[in-house]
Amino acid sequence: MREMRTLRVLDRFAGLFERMGVNYTVMRRILQVKLTMDARRVPILSNRSKKNQKDTPDESNQFLRSLWLYVLFGGFSSTLLLAGDNYIFHTSLLFGIMMFMIMTSMISDFSTVLLDIRDRNILATKPVNRRTITMAKTMHIFIYLFFLTGAIAIIPLVVGLAKHGILFFLIFLLELLLMNLLIVVLTALLYLTVLRLFDGEKLKDIINYVQIGLTITITIGYQVLIRLFDITAMDVTFKPAWWQVLLPPIWTGSAFQVLLQPGTATNAFVLLAVLSVVVPLIAFLAYLRLMPALERNLQKLAEPGSHSGSKGGGVVRRMARLICSTPQERAFFRFAWTMLGTERDFKLKVYPTLGFSIIFPFIFLFSGNFELENLGSGGSRMYLLIYFSGMMLPTIIKMLGYSSQYKAAWIYHTAPLENMNPVYKGTLLACLIRLMLPLFILEAIVFTVLFGAGILPELIIVGVALQFYAIISFLIMGKALPFSAPFESMQQSASVRILGLLLLLGVLALLHLAALQIPYGGIIYGVLLIAATWVGWRKAFAVAN
């Protein structure tokens, strides 16, 4: 275990902690252990690599390495500060963005810290007083929050100092601190409420969705933020309204407005500014009281979830009977269907990818200078951009081979299966219908609205083409048994295969475009594709063995 710089900084406050009734030596030791574990959080593969694990030299924290993303995000956001001194608008917006980022990361990355139920069995049974344990937990969160906030705020702070002066800088620092307090409290309150009303499984689901949402937001957020300049150029006049009392970022904006432009300070502004100081402090006091209640409710995380119900089981069963040819295939279709919907790690890795699939066609569509009015006027073949909704298929199909419970894959080998065809086929079908189909339908509806109902036959052909593409992708990418390898063993490098498959997708779109240039070309292309897909569904899986 290494000596951490963070802890050495903390040592200076040892006296302070001791005065609060905390055993500093023990707290420091707990923190050291916790930080060491965080550095190793990326789980270990399997027993095979046992030798490499002895005193692994690489213990730099994954989290710290990902911070540059937040720096970048803060950098984009800081352009808001350059736009002028309409504080109530610009700083509110900036704090809104930062608070959103910090809060979502807090939920997605630190839930493991807040919700570690092992602490109860391991720490609480030892002769360590409760205040020390609570403080260790609080400091653990604080350390991460410090780095996270630092990363996202560093560029806005520098920009603010240069543009608006030292007073602005100081207010910024103070408000950051207060808002962080509020965020910690809000997160804990969220957890507590969910745990009170529902069970641990529900909470894990909610955390999972926040993680997915965060991943999508970060990626799409860049697109939006770059275009923020247009908004900032607008001159927005601020009208006080009652609902602003509910928005913490506006409290912060008001604080800047009141302190930096006292001339404009109305009663409403002063009230909001006062809220920005008072509410976080009160909330933090309440938090210290609520912490034990949260700890008690955490026990629920360890308990089995209550009846998740057999919702929709009948529908899936009927669907399976409709499209699968053998009973085994049906079984694997339903199995994969459930896995796709319930395995949180899988969802976390795949659902954001689906998000990109939805927006890619539109990014391409709008990155050229298209006038919306011209789209429906016929002649335009831009709707073929819908092919790009299949861009993520190779990645998703690759992911089908991984699971956090990969060890359970022994069932494939012990079950009396003649060959693995039904396994592959059932899984691929479930993946296409559960993940790809809703996405494609959504995309098709939007495109039909944009381009007119005339493109419907072409869209159906695209649907078949994507099926064909999925089969080819499967043949090239995924010969692994579904859900049978740990996520950590996944090769990070975007392989040449994916690149080749992307080219193939482009080729399919171009073929479609070419076919449309000749009479009946679309129909011929469609028939050929249907034939190829039909053969594919029958033969491809036997080849894979």
Partner: protein, 263 residues
């Protein structure tokens, strides 16, 4: 009952506990003396682990008196925990740490110095046959290896009372013999051992006193011989079935098999 020497290390008087509307403990009275190995048995949900958790200060909101080394967990003092060793049923550990790191950490929490803790942990694991993996991460360990680490972690500070919940799970037959013998030796030196398990054969053999809990009440308390006399049954398993009012195991097994044969 076996010899009672000196003051009880644990004293429970009319202990009651409920989760919401569910009454888990219905007035448990118990005194534990040094040198006793208490087989603490009962069906699932009888309240065994709740009792242990209350004594460890993990569960609050109980009624009745609890004294562990004369200290009441409710009062919030933690010194009494220095004299307790605990092996929980679920082998929860910070398993991204190496065995060395984990054990040193736990030892320090109990007030040992890092050097003392490490040296003691190293020697104990050596005797347990785990010297090769002392610096490997616990997450790579087999169930039996984890259990040995857990047992070691509960003994580093030479506690006077041991709470063991299924301490033999995952151990191979040879290790089981070692641990059973070790428990007997520890009891001889005056340690009180609180042994929860579902494996009646083992409880029957190693316990000097058996406490049977059912529905939050103590249904029987005494040595195996005393229990045998009372219930006219030959083995602890049969006594257990009789006292918990369970006698339809044959019927249930037959029903299961008939379902199996349907295919």
């Amino acid at each position: 009952m076996t010899k009672l020497s000196g003051e009880p290390v644990i004293r429970l008087v009319d202990l009651q506990m409920s989760y919401g509307s569910k009454q888990v403990l219905n007035g448990v009275d118990l005194e534990v003396y040094p040198g006793q190995i208490i087989g603490y048995i009962g069906p699932n949900g009888a309240g065994k682990s709740t009792t242990v958790k209350i004594m460890l200060g993990l569960v609050e909101g109980y009624r009745g008196e609890v004294h562990v080394f004369g200290q009441d967990p409710k009062e919030g003092g933690v010194d009494y925990k220095k004299r307790i060793g605990y092996v929980p049923e679920i082998a929860e550990m910070y398993d991204t740490l190496t065995a060395c790191e984990y054990l040193t950490f736990i030892g320090e929490l109990y007030g040992l110095t890092a050097d003392e803790a490490e040296s003691k942990a190293r020697r104990m694991l050596h005797v347990f046959g785990l010297e090769d993996v002392f610096h490997s991460r616990i997450s790579t360990f087999s169930k039996g290896m984890r259990q040995k680490v857990l047992l070691t972690s509960s003994l580093l500070h030479n506690p006077d009372v041991l709470f063991l919940d299924e301490p033999l799970s995952g151990l191979d037959a040879n290790s089981v013999m070692v641990v059973k013998e070790m428990l007997a030796l520890l009891a001889e030196q005056g340690k009180a051992i609180f042994y929860s398990s579902h494996i009646m054969d083992v409880v029957e053999k190693i316990s000097s006193r058996i406490v049977l809990l059912d529905g939050g009440r103590i249904m029987a308390d005494g040595s195996f011989e005393e229990l045998k006399e009372r219930s006219q049954e030959g083995s602890l398993e049969q006594i257990f079935n009789q006292m918990t009012g369970f006698n339809d195991h044959e019927d249930i097994a037959a029903r299961l098999v008939s379902i199996v044969q349907e295919v």
